[in-house]
């Protein structure tokens, strides 16, 4: 399994075609959605709360089955019968989803064990990725002893340690306080610059999307369709307060105000 992971770690690219998903077989969450993500790209999926963008990630990770359409990651169809052979996917949830009865290190280990990584390799990766996320002293700490921001770092470290083809992030910073969130965005941007993972990042914050992404898929209110795709031509490293970001933010707000309605978040 780790050989596959190595192989596809650079090869992942994502294709979504005509995706339609409904919550319970009746209410549609996503309608006829197309999306393409190049290898190593950082793509944001932007939409108002409850528009189905999380559902999109669920289907991409193989947890949910779509009613129509298909998704390919690295050439492998997602959710097919060969699901076990398809490249591993790292997923960072909005709420950390760590096992509170395992230490930080054990939380990462259990996921790597399931992927068939050897014991020494696991050990080495834990150290490496904890360091990358600036939490290397916390390997033997219980998750409940950590702050929200630290727990999300563990969650990210867990995703990255899998050396996945793709990292899916579902509003990972939306539950953190503003200062911590800013710091995390900064460090995520830096980390991505070095590692070059393919990342699909869901958010409802226009600014966050502009700060982090190469391209932004802007979705409509639920059921979600792609409303527009915005390129973010700003050079990296970016500054969160950059006036160019503010300008682009204004443009996007103007474009979506009608589409997202009063419920949309500027």
């Amino acid at each position: 399994m780790s050989a596959v992971a190595e192989e596809t770690a650079g090869a992942g690219y994502i294709r979504v075609e005509g995706l339609s998903v409904s919550y319970d077989g009746v209410t549609p969450a996503v309608t006829d959605l197309d999306m393409e993500v190049r290898k190593g790209e950082f793509v944001a999926v932007l939409g108002p709360s409850g528009c189905g963008k999380s559902t999109l990630l669920h289907v991409m990770s193989g947890v949910m089955r779509p009613q129509a359409g298909r998704i390919e990651i690295g050439g492998h169809a997602v959710g097919g019968s060969a699901a076990a052979d398809s490249p591993p996917i790292g997923y960072v949830f909005q709420d950390h989803r760590l096992l509170s009865w395992r230490t930080v290190g054990q939380n990462i280990a259990i996921v790597l064990q399931a992927a068939g990584v050897s014991a020494e390799e696991i050990n080495e990766r834990i150290d490496r990725y904890l360091e990358m996320l600036h939490i290397d002293g916390f390997r033997d700490t219980w998750p409940m002893r950590l702050s929200g921001g630290q727990r999300q770092r563990v969650s990210i470290a867990r995703a990255l340690a899998l050396q996945p083809a793709v990292v899916l992030m579902d509003e990972p910073f939306s539950t953190l306080d503003e200062v911590t969130a800013r710091l995390m965005r900064q460090q995520l941007a830096e980390l991505w610059q070095e590692s070059g993972h393919t990342i699909v990042f869901v958010t409802h914050s226009i600014r966050e999307a502009l700060f982090l992404a190469d391209r932004i898929y802007i979705l409509t209110k639920g059921p979600a369709r792609v409303f527009d795709v915005a390129e973010v031509p700003i050079e990296r490293p970016r500054r969160y307060e950059d006036p160019k970001l503010t300008e682009l933010e204004g443009e996007i707000v103007d474009r979506v105000l009608g589409v997202w309605g009063i419920g949309g978040k500027p």
Binding site: V63, P88, A114, A115, R158
Partner: protein, 264 residues
Amino acid sequence: MALTERLETARVEPASRDRVRRAQAFVVASLIALGIWQLATLISDGWVPSLARIFTAFIEDATTLEVWGQIWITFRRILISFSAATAIGVVLGVAMGLSRRITAFFRPIIVMGLAVPDPVYIIVAILVLGTEESSGLIALVIALVPFVVNIVAGGVRARDEGLDEMSTVYRLGRRRYIIDVVGRQVAPALLAATRTSFAFAWKLIVLVEAMTQPEGIGAQIYYSFRLLRPDHMISLALLFILVLRLVEGLAFAPLERKLLGWMR
């Protein structure tokens, strides 16, 4: 003003005060209970056995080897039926807690199982299986399983479903999922189910034995009743209850500490 005063006094109460209170409470409770009993003896003109007679009978029973032999027989039966019921109930309960379909199938069975009075199970078991020892025990197991199932299924259902998703996304696999993710969350419910199962088992075995076998403490209690020896009926009952509550205390307290240690 009054609030701060109350807080002050609350903080000042030391633990030793509490222990004294407990001892006092024990004494008061015992005196009242014994007093009422003696009163009952007087009112009933000796029909209700006096404390002295009960005490004598108790000493006699506690020092008779046969009595302990009977207790052992009963205890053996309790262990067999409680383990079987717990095992079956846990498996079924976990299955039900994880799958809505399985719950849908078994729900009417469990509901009806809880509604059937225990004597009925025993009588039906005898009719179908004959008068061996196993009939009564099988009836007991069937009576206990629905309770275990409910507790365990409830515990499984109360799990964090976000972790289910995480397990699927990270492909942890069925075995790891059940042991590492669900298992730990379900541990308190498992413990509760085991305690309940044991508690019900020793209470119901008395009924089983009173209705069926010539052996076992329940049967002895019933015989004492039939032979109009209330002093022994009560003393045997007391002996049995004391022994079993002791076992409950000794067996489950350390188990609870061990299993739930990570929670503290």
